[in-house]
């Protein structure tokens, strides 16, 4: 029992793995597979961003820039310079990590609003470069001819294969994040969120951890970006605009700050919802704004908190309310 409890997170991970394996069997057609693949990119981005926002309490409004920087780097290296895909992929992720580190050191000295504006400014600059460096990026009309994902002679050609690759990566990086937040590092990050001064007094190297988590969240975005480039094989600046950065923040907020499962739920929900609401497409911009405002006012813990609260409410219906029983039901020994 105690082993099960201690490793409850493994159960969740296993459940996720099983659903990933089984999901394609229940999909009516290939179109839904595409949505799930895009959902996978969003989950990667959101889990990474949540480590930064939810756990550490730092905000990035330029995350789409890391996503795009990685996609363009591997795209240009493999299509224009004919690098093999794994080399392009690795170079893209490496470049983003270095850029995030360089940006992170000065930026994370900034607090709150300044950090938000600093990352936003970075995002806008990168977006402008994507649009203006036409020789390299193809400018506003986009960049074509990126090869499909491949390694050691194996090409990931079908959507179904790609689905398993993406979600395999998601599972791996999700488990990594889960371990991280349960570790000493995770506690340090949460400490920084609660009070930087208190964390510092307790011996947490605040600056080091902030840069570390910033780079890590950029790393998640870079993996998503490189996968994205080799999946769609055509990229254009619009995908990596400020609007995308806001969408990612919305996913984190909706799912619930400081909840990895919330990040998964938020990302998938906001991937599927616009598809379901195709009929009222032009209203989706209002939807993001509405979700951000309403969530922050009424449900600051996002879906994760909403789920927990409703689960408790349901439990409350069945368990008679006596203090001893209530305590028992909540933490069985």
């Amino acid at each position: 029992m105690s082993f099960l409890q201690k490793n409850a997170h493994l159960g969740g991970l296993l459940a996720l793995a099983v659903s990933v394996l089984l999901a394609p069997r229940f999909l009516p057609n290939e179109y839904y597979l595409t949505i799930l693949i895009v959902g996978g990119f969003h989950v990667l981005l959101t889990v990474g961003l949540n480590l930064l926002m939810g756990f550490t309490g730092q905000i990035s409004l330029g995350h789409a820039a890391f996503y795009g920087l990685s996609a363009y780097t591997t795209g240009i290296l493999t299509a224009t310079f004919h690098w093999p895909v794994p080399a392009g992929f690795a170079a893209a992720v490496g470049l983003v990590v270095v850029v995030a580190w360089l940006i992170g050191i000065p930026t994370l000295k900034l607090k709150g609003h300044y950090l938000a504006m600093g990352t936003l400014g970075f995002g806008v600059i990168v977006f402008i470069v994507f649009n203006e460096a036409t020789d390299l990026t193809g400018g506003p009309s986009g960049f074509t001819g990126i090869p499909k994902l491949s390694a050691a002679g194996l090409v990931v050609s079908s959507d179904r294969q790609f689905y398993y690759v993406v979600w395999g990566v998601v599972l791996l990086l999700f488990a990594l994040a889960q371990n991280l937040v349960r570790s000493r590092v995770g506690r340090a990050l949460r400490g920084i969120h609660t009070s930087e001064a208190a964390a510092a007094v307790l011996g947490v190297d605040v600056a080091k951890y902030k840069v570390f988590v910033f780079v890590l969240s950029a790393f998640y975005a870079a993996i998503a970006g490189a996968l994205y480039a080799h999946y769609v094989t055509f990229i254009s600046p619009g995908t990596f605009s400020f609007h995308t950065s806001v969408q990612l923040v919305t996913m984190v907020v909706l799912g619930g700050m400081a909840s990895l499962w919330g990040a998964v739920a938020g990302a998938l929900f906001l991937t599927v919802l616009p598809e379901a609401l195709r009929a009222i497409e032009s209203y989706d911009i209002l939807m993001y704004g509405g979700i951000l405002v309403l969530c922050m006012i009424f449900l600051p813990g996002g879906l994760a908190e909403g789920f927990r609260k409703s689960a408790e409410a349901v439990r409350g219906l069945f368990v008679p309310k006596s203090p001893s029983e209530g305590g028992k039901a909540r933490s069985p020994r």
Binding site: I59, M117, G121, L286, I291, L292, V293
Partner: protein, 294 residues
């Protein structure tokens, strides 16, 4: 190499556009001074100023001066509504929550404008005549004089308000210490609402005087807001004169950058300045080095 008259031309258009950045920055300053919130929806007030005036003329058929007044009033009312509906319920929450809410509000305003007015770009007629005045080989639009004049007037008005009126002093007191201000009988909530109203007023005024020079559309708010913020940082956060000076400086640098280097990267200039400043001197050119308020 650019000739002297060309340079003069760049400076003139830079000062003109920069003045409106300055007005946006003033809007940021008003809210920041009372609440320490950076209002990410500030740029949308600028957009609303221009768009509402355009559509007051198109739909309502009102003359230009009435349209200008109407759009500024409407935007101000929207500012008050935003404070009441979205800021007041979460007062006292973390900075990140407030950032997210004002971003949400900015998206709602932008999306609302898109649905209401469409995605086209519109122009507003100039306030007085379109014939440019020639100075030393450079053309000066009469509208530029309006822009600079109104900006200076607003700045002086703000100085008067903060130095000489009881409400202005009350607002400053709120920024110094909210609790002490409230103990002295200042209605802090009302002051915050007032700061949102003023900030919307100043922002939309900037939007409406800029619209005849640059075109306006539902999505001009993001960049204008960001540049306004860059102006704030450049001038030192919370300092009204610094804000306007920062705006003018960014406008001129941007205009010179566009003319001498590359027009495609024009919009990047403000952000490179913003990042460089944030990294090197976050208190701005005219700001004092501050210790963190606890």
């Amino acid at each position: 190499m650019a000739s002297a008259s060309q340079l003069l031309q760049y400076v003139i258009s830079g000062v003109t556009v920069g003045s409106t950045y300055g007005l946006t920055a003033l809007g940021f300053t008003m809210i920041f001074n009372t609440t320490e919130i950076i209002n990410f929806a500030q740029g949308e007030f600028v957009m609303l100023g221009g768009m509402l005036a355009v559509f007051a003329i198109r739909w309502g058929g009102v003359p230009l001066p009435a349209a200008v007044a109407l759009s500024v009033l409407l935007a101000t009312a929207i500012g008050v509504v935003i404070d009441r509906l979205t800021i007041r319920p979460v007062r006292g929450r973390s900075v990140i929550a407030l950032i997210i809410i004002t971003i949400g509000v900015s998206i709602l305003l932008r999306g609302g404008a898109m649905l209401l007015f469409g995605k086209d770009t519109y122009s507003l007629q100039a306030f007085s005549g379109g014939a440019p005045i020639l100075i030393g080989g450079a053309a000066l639009l009469p509208q530029s004089l309006w822009v600079v004049g109104i900006t200076l007037f607003t700045l002086l008005g703000m100085k008067f308000f903060f130095d000489r009126t009881i409400s202005g002093k009350a607002m400053l007191a709120c920024s110094c210490d909210r609790k002490a201000a409230s103990l002295m009988g200042i209605n802090v909530e009302a002051m915050v609402t007032l700061s949102f109203a003023f900030s919307a007023l100043v922002g939309s005024l900037g939007g409406v005087i800029l619209a005849p020079i640059t075109l306006t559309s539902f999505d001009v708010g993001i960049l204008l807001g960001l540049k306004g913020f860059a102006a704030c940082i450049l001038g030192g956060m919370g300092n009204p004169f610094g804000a306007v000076a920062g705006g003018v400086l960014i406008g001129v640098l941007e205009s010179l950058g566009a003319g001498l280097l590359s027009s495609g990267y024009k919009d990047a200039v403000a952000f490179v300045i913003l990042l460089a400043l944030l990294f090197v001197r976050p208190t701005g050119l005219f700001g004092k080095r501050m210790t963190e308020r606890v």
